[in-house]
Symmetry: C2
Subunit: 521 residues, 2 copies
């Protein structure tokens, strides 16, 4: 490093610093102000650069990469407009507690005062969804700030951070590499807290433990199984970033999506502990319905949110309870080949049958995802990843990033057709990168969830205009043509048998494939 | 109105108020929190609701609608994530001085404190690109704030505004319609300013007048022709929102895009006046090159930016100069049918040949657009609309909105392939709405402009990674399949003859068509 000092551009110092710290991928959509970053990446073999044709693909992919590797990826975004395009999946990543380093190019500092057309208040735009944000206004600071950004992406809880790189700081000589930094570890809850939780559980009639974060890995779930055997009901949040599941793994219950269902299910619980998450709340509010999903009179106990190591929490809690036995693990149970009409349920059966061991599933299936979730509980062991932030359009980008992170694992992407349209450009990057992703699009030509929500919110009887706003048919989107137009081989399935065969073939072939599953609306 | 008072929901009051004020279109992508807005729109026949499958399409279309009608359209966006998706084209609209009313749904106010997954700091996210922003936290305020938002979108200079509508303010009864408001007019410059500008011109050897805004309509250009005859060189900004042009209309020069070209061209100018714009600046900064494009020693004179009525300014200035004569108008000159290789130049020749009278052109052609711009100067009279904010991906949404605004006019969309990929979902809305748009995609499988900029920024010789970051080939995108997948008939052209024929056919047919023009990279 010493020899290079001073001969590096700011862009080179930034890129080398991130590589030194273990950043292995950059999901990029560059513009003129990022040309020196592009050539710096060209000279950095430790970082794999992946071009995305829309910035929301880049940040969704960075999210998937980090969920699989545990390390942040870098993104390369073009000024404030690029940040905005990237923003919905940054929101999602924040809600998944995903570390991510968004490098946002800006005009050269002396150029800013002229208010050129692409000038914007990047600090203002990016601050609300950035756990850390700084602008490297001096070339000498680029490396140091890259180290800071890397560390900041880990904590106190992992989250996206923003490093703004003005073009002159990128192009000038005088870059200095920043240090390798040790990211902060997740917090351990105190012994006193464990002890108090243990006492509360012993005093409760019907305790329930809501878990997320590291509790959803192999260690955390093993501890959860012991707690379950000790009489604690164990549930996950409705949506979580990643969980290990399938045959041989303990399967917690899952909190219901609709508030009224969740409340009915929780009725009678007299203690709710949360570990790696917060008290459950309704995804949306509805007239006259509760927001907080805690039954009246139920005590609550906070064992730390995403900033804590909840696998550790659960293990120590099980020890404190002397929970020696374990609840049963999920057994392998593969459905028979489904026949007849293709539905979300038969898709799920086929997926459970054919899911390869150690696959990664990216679930943006919206109203159709649940029917794949349920039967795969007894499929081969795998990891399931979800949309946690509610901004649809994450599924395909997340799958892309996961495939870049784990080229030896099959990735399955479940996407609604409405969700998939948001970031359909991800298909092109899958084709270019030969990403080993089988994408299943549930094609019902509808924002089906909104047709359900329209009634739940009591918004009245929909007339033709309202119906049109919730239908994405007229014209129907041809997903096979759309996928093939970007280089991803695709097939349509309209029967359970055809889908089952198509899925088997897609999974057995390397590289990206798409299946348009025509399901009822 | 009085009879309805108190029986309206907040959503109904908001929608009725905007309709009363002349808002005629809503470009929407709703979610659960906007269901009452959807049903309110259902009951409001004065507002045409257009579903967009990505929010950037909605805001780009609202921009096109306003550029054609002079009135803001409403958009309907789903919380902070929807705003982010919409954001790049809001940036562009701001740079085009386009009025726009972005209605952003939010959680019910009492739900916000629970920090549900889609919760975000909408005020913080939207403020930097909103000329006005308020949240209607009380149902009784929804109508009043809709009136305020409408007025604010006009001035002091037209721009996008943001009205946040919490779900409970939308669903509760007690909405009260807001008043009809008279939007503020553009400012007139003072007589003293006109007089001083007149004196400065008389004293100058080589005066140049840079114009934009209302100066680019028929009245302003007629005055510009008189100023030209009086010895004033007249130029437009490189990029402008809309200009009347073609046969019988005065054709000002156009400021060059590349700073070095612009500076060489302006050399010797001793007075630069600006009307409806600001002093010209380089689009990007480059090492060692100037930002401000004003020759050394050249005096400057500010006749008001976008908040002024620059058509009025030019007319009064021409009067003050006693400029009686007029410079020649553009003559009708239609190129012959081009033959041979298909290039940006032959595309331009075909467009000039076939452009129907009173067409609207949406130009997001990036590096290929200029060759269509030049020959159409002598085509049938038309309006040309450009990307002013630099965030590519505006062209197809803008064309969609223009077609909704002017169903009796043919709309031509010029898009780069890289630009088009950002918001390809616009094609679906064109198909659904039977929008009369002929889209020409320049397919060179490249971010061609960046290959030029890479050298101009001196970022060094690109290696394979850098080249990959600027190429959108590998795989090549099949634009015909992409377009057809969303219901827009499409054809590929690889020769000048084939393109000419395809364009003639597309223009003569009503409804959306797409031509993939395969041009050199």
């Amino acid at each position: 490093m010493m020899e290079q000092q001073g001969t590096l551009t700011g862009a080179q110092a930034l890129v080398a610093t991130l590589a030194d710290n273990g950043v292995g991928a950059c999901f990029a959509n560059p513009g003129t102000s990022e040309m020196h970053l592009v050539t710096a990446l060209d000279g950095e073999p430790r970082i794999r650069s992946v071009l995305c044709l829309f910035e929301g693909v880049a940040t969704g992919a960075a999210d998937g990469y980090a969920r699989v590797t545990g390390l942040p990826a870098m993104t390369l975004l073009h000024l404030g407009a690029g940040y905005l395009n990237a923003g919905a999946n940054i929101h999602n990543a924040g809600r998944a507690n995903t570390p991510m380093i968004n490098v946002i190019g800006d005009h050269a500092v002396p150029h800013l005062k002229y208010d050129a057309p692409l000038t914007s208040d990047i600090l203002g735009l990016a601050a609300p969804n950035s756990a850390w944000i700084k602008s490297a206004d001096k070339v000498a600071d680029t490396g140091k700030l890259a180290s800071e950004a890397f560390a900041a992406s880990f904590g106190p809880k992992p989250a996206p951070v923003s490093l703004i790189l003005p073009a002159d700081s990128a192009w000038e000589q005088g870059g200095i590499k920043g240090p390798k930094v040790t990211p902060p570890s997740l917090r351990r809850v105190s012994d006193a807290q464990i002890e108090a939780a243990c006492e509360a559980i012993k005093a409760a009639e019907r305790p329930v433990l809501l878990i997320n974060g590291t509790a959803l890995g192999a260690t955390g779930l093993a501890a959860a199984a012991r707690l379950k055997a000790a009489g604690v009901r164990v549930m996950t949040d409705t949506f979580y970033p990643k969980m290990r599941r399938g045959a041989g793994i303990f399967a917690p219950e899952r909190m219901q999506y609709f508030a009224e269902g969740a409340m009915a299910d929780l009725e009678g619980s007299d203690l709710m502990l949360v570990a790696g998450t917060s008290l459950p709340v309704a995804f949306f509010s509805y007239p006259g319905k509760p927001s907080l999903l805690v039954p009246e009179g139920c005590q609550t106990f906070d064992l730390g949110s995403a900033e804590t190591d909840s696998a550790d929490t659960l293990t120590r809690l099980a020890d404190a309870l002397n929970a020696a036995a374990s609840a049963p693990m999920a057994e392998l149970s593969l459905p028979d080949q489904p026949t007849g009409e293709l539905t979300a349920a038969t898709v799920g059966q086929s997926l459970a049958r054919h899911l390869p061991e150690n696959a990664l599933v990216s679930d943006d299936g919206v109203s159709n995802g649940l029917m794949s979730y349920l039967p795969t509980q007894n499929a081969q062991p795998h990891d399931w990843m979800m949309l946690t932030g509610g901004a649809i359009g994450l599924g395909m980008p997340l799958a892309l990033g996961a495939a870049i992170a784990a080229p030896d694992r099959k990735v399955i992407c479940l996407s609604g057709d409405g969700a998939g349209m948001y970031t359909n450009q991800a298909l092109w990057s899958m084709a270019r990168e030969k990403a080993d992703v089988t994408t299943i699009v549930f094609v019902n030509h509808s924002y089906r969830i909104l047709n359900i929500e329209l009634y739940r919110t009591g918004a009245g009887n929909p007339g033709p205009t309202a119906k049109d706003m919730l239908s994405i048919g007229g014209p129907d989107i041809d997903w096979v043509a759309l996928s093939q137009s970007m280089g991803v081989p695709a097939i349509e399935a309209t029967t359970a048998e055809a889908f089952d065969k198509a899925l088997e073939q897609a999974i057995s072939a390397p590289g990206p494939r798409l299946i348009a599953a025509i399901v009822p609306g």
